[in-house]
Symmetry: C2
Subunit: 345 residues, 2 copies
DNA sequence: AGTCCGTGAGTAAGCGCTTTCTCGCCGGGT
DNA sequence: ACCCGGCGAGAAAGCGCTTACTCACGGACT
């Protein structure tokens, strides 16, 4: 086993120069058919695989993109990642996956790692609105696409979902179901998505002409199942339960659902629950969960396409801000019993 | 914005040679303190970031590892990936994520991509027992760690869980609960994990002294929720339901649970269900799911450590085959009612 | 027959970095 | 006062590849 076959070995075997081999690989049209086939045969016989880092060094263009997400354990990001991976691998690009775990320090470390790998673009869901990392990347000539985080910044693209609208959808629904004392479980302060969903929720209350105190906020330290469980326990410890909870994402909602059902609370009769993201598991929960659906896969694909397009023609690239519209999926967890019910006896 | 600051720019600013800058970065001990600090100051002032591909070209050692999984949408792999990412980033390595989607063709493409990126190691859960890709990688000097797939191959490491034992645990439990007509929903043929779990299930039946026809097999085309739903519908279409189902993973089990509960089947009274993987959502399901737990995070960390260790000292590296032992987590979905029950009236 | 130009291959200069070798310089031993 | 050894910095050679640029060769003109 020779450690690595280089373009030079191929050139020797095909009895051409290295330049010609390179041309066969990159601009096949410029090489005469007979020569080209001889080279291809040699590549095949030797099992040659191009050395991408070397190519990148010389040409300056990488075929690698970075993806920094808040939590790979969250199916929302998983589905986004799948979309990214799909679009990237179709374009022959590799995806370097980084998990910031909602930590600014880890995010910073990953961004530096990606910069040192000289990726040509980074798709990132920033922890907080840490514009500092983004600026730093752009200063080094790395294009950035903001994922699931809208921005008006003129020198980068973004792909997001209208979180404010999503929050509004959720609350409008709960109010229509007759809920009167609603708690919103939000994420850590500074988490943009959760804050926007909260704003949307308040919008809905205003539009419905209700008093703002219909909605109370309960912050959770992170958007995962464990924090949802804890939030549930906090609610259960109260003298009176609210009649509805809107969670900033489905993981919180599933945890909360589990805690409350276990304690004998009836969902939705005693407590309506609405989540956010509509992950696959929402439908399979103890009580099928009402949720706000986002086009996760589409978000990933779009973001990857944008960054690849930008890298291929940096000059005429126009930075775009794509905003998808969320959709409410009503399931059992929020269908309140009506005063008069029809149905089987 | 200068496209990229090189080691040369740093050298000029610190008034030393490029060799010295390189020494500061790689063997700081060899440089006099005063010089070193001058260089570090220059690096800081210019915001220099090492060009990893260039370093790799010269030194021949990459700081990148590849991870090829069957399905990023499956929380099992997600948790493994998190372990990998964690261990890798602690060691300053980047992880290139690839999703084979259980397709041999996509796997092949990803393996070639990783080879062209000259990663120093690949962690892979092979589709089928596609040893061909592995041999191909080893021929190119790339170390391979088999993930969730045991092997006796002497020239590579593997990290796996004893799937046969896991299957045995599941079936022993179901038999102890008094189940008599058990269906196992397996994966596509050739999927090693599912086949081993099935073998273990048969072991349990033999050990319990039961007739082999207690267990029937229902293959599913893939290990996801959708296929679980379909399997559930297939069972519901039968004249008589089995009294227990053992699913090759939790996604199948959650799908099946959803389909059966929706159809009014009582779980576990009419039908006991056992899954595999014990993903976080298993506990939060409509009926909390009994499952076989695997140390997912540990698997990922271990695999990444092995490949990084091998790359750092290829000579004295001993290939290891790590096998974890699974553990049964009993929840409500498989607790059969006893003839005599105690409880509230 | 001489000139021109298009085609197709070779030549060579690096991309940014590591690493070996060389060499200047200073302190200590004789 | 001289020599030698060791420390520390510089010079330089590539790693595998891309990409001008160069140049030889014919065929088609004038």
């Amino acid at each position: 086993m020779k450690p690595s076959i280089s373009i030079r070995d191929v050139a020797v075997r095909a009895e051409v120069s290295v330049g010609t081999v390179s041309n066969v690989l990159n601009r096949p049209g410029v090489v005469a058919t007979a020569t080209r086939e001889r080279v291809l045969a040699a590549i095949d016989a030797l099992g040659y695989v191009r050395n991408e880092p070397a190519r990148q060094l010389r040409s300056g263009t990488a075929r690698t993109i970075g993806l920094v997400v808040l939590d790979v354990g969250n199916p929302f990001f998983t589905d986004v990642a799948r979309g990214v991976e799909e679009a990237a691998s179709e374009a022959g690009h590799a995806v370097i996956l980084c998990n910031s775990g909602e930590s600014v320090g880890k995010e910073r470390g990953h961004v530096e790692l990606l910069a040192s790998q000289r990726v040509h673009g980074v798709l990132i869901t920033p922890v907080q609105s840490a514009q500092v990392s983004l600026r730093w990347l752009r200063d080094r000539g790395i294009s950035v696409v903001l994922l699931d985080h809208p921005t008006a910044e003129a020198d980068l693209c973004s792909v997001a979902v209208d979180d404010r609208r999503g929050g509004e959808l959720a609350l409008t629904h709960l109010l229509a179901e007759g809920c009167e004392r609603i708690v919103m479980v939000t994420g850590p302060p500074g988490l943009h998505q959760a804050a926007e969903r909260h704003r949307g929720a308040r919008d809905a209350i205003r539009l419905a002409g209700r008093a703002p105190d219909v909605l109370e906020v309960l912050p959770a330290p992170a958007l995962n199942v464990a924090c949802g469980l804890r939030a549930g326990e906090q609610l259960l410890a109260r003298a009176v339960l609210p009649d509805a909870v809107f969670c900033a994402n489905d993981l919180l909602a599933l945890g909360l659902l589990q805690a409350t059902v276990r304690a004998g609370v009836r969902v939705p009769e005693d407590l309506a629950i609405v989540g956010y993201d509509d992950i696959d598991f929402a439908a399979a929960a103890a009580v099928p969960l009402t949720s706000v659906r986002q086009p996760r896969h589409e978000i990933g694909r779009t973001a990857a396409s944008l960054v690849i397009a930008e890298s291929q023609s940096p000059a005429e690239h126009e930075h775009r801000h794509v905003v998808f519209t969320p959709e409410l999926v009503v399931r059992e967890s929020s269908r309140r019993p009506r005063r008069v019910r029809t149905g089987r006896p």
